[in-house]
Amino acid sequence: MTAPAHRVRRLEPAALAGVMSRDIVLFGRYWKATTFSSVVQPTIYLLAFGLGFGSLVSHVEHVRYVEYVGTGVVATAVLFSSAFPGMFNTFIRWKFQRTYDAMLAAPVDVEELITAEVLWISVRAGVYGVAPLIVAMAFGLSPSPGMLLVPFVGFVTGIGFASFGVLVAAIAKTIDNFNYVTSAVLTPLFLVAGTFFPITTLPQGVRYVAEANPLYHCVALVRDCSLGNLSAGDLSHAGVLILFAVLMWRIAVWQMEQKLID
């Protein structure tokens, strides 16, 4: 009973599956609430902006305003369903429930723990990111094959923002500090992403900021997929999102390793 049955490696599927099995069990309990809010929220946006604002503005960038907002709000849904769980779940499970402490005493490394959590959040974000499109269809958006790519765009964007959330949780001293991030980072990102109005209307300086915003690239890519406007230019949007995802993931893992291992 001595020789190891197999060499253990980094990022083992068994460890990822173990951590995710907990998320899946919990999801069985709260999926109704999640589904409800992910349908109601885009409905409200579409009612408020699409119909309210849309009566003033009929077309933006040659697209009916309802379609413009309906596709843009996908990114909003992805942002909020990845950054917030990244921040709050991580902090609560680490500091309050001490779940991570229990898992790290088992054969799970910090890298596996964080990766599994981020993967789960971003799969969910990718799936629920489609909800606004479905709602928008009720408002007249026509289905198109390119929409099948949208969950993947949501997934990659979700990795970036979920990891960003984990990073915030790693650094924040208390859960109240999340307010700084929500108001000073997430809200501006959400507003200057080309969701409700084109960033070309912004002053040049702010426009640079908007172009550095990963969410802007998510909005642009989702819109091009959904409205059948895919072109070579979308490769750069995809590139930015992938880069953002990988970068944030590595930084989040590295920071949590510092914090979770004494």
């Binding site: 001595t2 049955a5 069990v25 229990a102 005493a105 291992i261």
Partner: protein, 342 residues
Amino acid sequence: MPALRFGTATLLGAHGSCQSPRAASPGAAGSTSQTLSYTRAMAAAETHAISLRGVVKRFGPVTAVDGLDLEVPAGTCFGLLGPNGAGKSTTMRMLTGQARADAGEIRVLGHLLPGGSKQARIEMGVVPQLDNLDVELTTRQTLAVFARIYRVPGRERRDAVDRALQIANLTNRAETKVSELSGGMRRRLLIARGLIHAPRLVLLDEPTVGLDPQVRQELWGLIDRLRASGVTVLMSTHYIEEAERLADTVAVMSHGRIVALGKPEQVVRAEAGEQALEVYGPPDHLESVVRDAAEAGWRTRRSGPAVVIMRAELLDGKAPDGVRRPANLEDAFVMLTGEEIE
């Protein structure tokens, strides 16, 4: 009285997931002599389930573990005693890789840490000092999640969960949410969770804190059975009685080092002699007893309402009136660390 049994269920049943089907690699068939020497080297490493050499762990200005040398023979129950802050939990956390040693060498089940930490964790179970159960899950879900995390193969998982429920005597609470369990039940679940994968090594950090006396007895029975089935147990405790009753070897820890080591009775003999004399009486009488003892060079300690004079077997006729009793581990412990414990 059928209730309150820490399962008479077989602890180490069918799913021997860690009795590793060894060396299934195709290359292993190659050279017999090489395989032999490999086996012999592993066997040598295996005589100690845990070995620490010169291990140091600092937290800023605090040196929690200060050059610790410790060897836990495989298949034994090892008791770690020590006052608050002695470094017991820190030592346990280094064994699970949750704290990194600043210096020294740590081996667990033959795996050198930190590199071999995950492999070691596959083969060991941990019961932490602080409850870290998942309050959002039910009892059964907790065990099922950890069966997966501990890599119990799919078809054996259900049995493993059922067996763990039996061990913790929580079968009829399987569907209860953890947040609705009583304190003792949570403690039992915490222990069952650490045994879900039939580990070869179990770390128990103060396992019986908060258990009522009867459940504590049941847990002692469980630890006894674990050891009888060949599992190595490293247990930290404040309860002297627990260490005396269960441990093959005890180590007394103080300020991050081992200050005494041996079979419980050896440690008692060496540190506290054969007998202790307990003197009772009003406070001024006890004060004069302490004063006289100091003059005569006898060591004393307070124990509740009494003054205890150590090594009473060496006292001649001058000893005050009192009750003689055999020296115990608590006497030894207080002599060593200068601190009273529960």
